[in-house]
């Protein structure tokens, strides 16, 4: 089980790098916001898996919950900020 967890954590660390292409090369602002949100939600799972490997899940799950709240609020705030803009004006 420990080996499976370590393999999955390495795979997830590779998966997190993939949406960073969309952050760097998005045609619009919303593509970049989407890439940042995807990276954040994958990082939550990575934090939980690392806590499970270390055997200290009671500490890392609180960090993961705080991270999830912060990611959600940031995406909502950016969406509300760009909602009132008209394109070209």
């Amino acid at each position: 089980m420990q080996d499976v967890l370590i393999y999955i954590t390495n795979l997830l660390a590779v998966i997190i790098i993939i949406p960073f292409y969309r952050v760097l090369k998005g045609p619009t602002v919303f593509d970049r916001v989407l890439g940042v949100g995807a990276i954040g939600t994958k990082t939550l799972v990575l934090i939980c898996l690392v806590g499970f490997i270390y055997g200290r899940l009671e500490m890392f799950i609180d960090i993961a919950l705080a991270y999830a709240v912060l990611n959600f609020i940031s995406v909502l705030a950016i969406a509300k900020y760009f909602k009132n803009y008209r394109k070209g004006a």
């Binding site: 089980m1 499976v4 967890l5 999955i8 795979l11 997830l12 998966i15 993939i18 949406p19 292409y21 969309r22 045609p27 619009t28 919303f30 593509d31 916001v33 989407l34 890439g35 949100g37 995807a38 939600t41 994958k42 939550l44 799972v45 939980c48 898996l49 499970f52 899940l57 009671e58 799950i61 609180d62 993961a64 919950l65 999830a68 709240v69 959600f72 995406v75 909502l76 969406a79 509300k80 760009f82 909602k83 009132n84 803009y85 008209r86 394109k87 070209g88």
Partner: protein
Amino acid sequence: MGMTEIIAVLMILGGGFFLLVASIGIVRFPDFYTRLHAMGKGDTLGIILILLGLCVYEGFTLNSAKLLIALVFVGLTNPVATHALARAALRYGLKPLLKLDQKDMEPSTTSKIDALET
């Protein structure tokens, strides 16, 4: 290798597969709204599967309850964030890729059809 361990390993492997597919979809889809579709469904399912696998392996403890709280929170808030982002993009004036614009494969800002005139 008990039965619960096998179930947990299968769930964790399935979640990793769904997260990989969602990431590839975010890179390779041609339009903003299709990318949003890939993120809002694939990411949520992958996260739910991985956290459920950890929950099954842990058993009836306090950490399992905390994992369930995190799972419910992510399953509620990730579609809400996706919906807010899509509505903000529509309000901003980003038009989806239509059938006429399939040749240039760009997010069509100057579409030939004003179908979404708000």
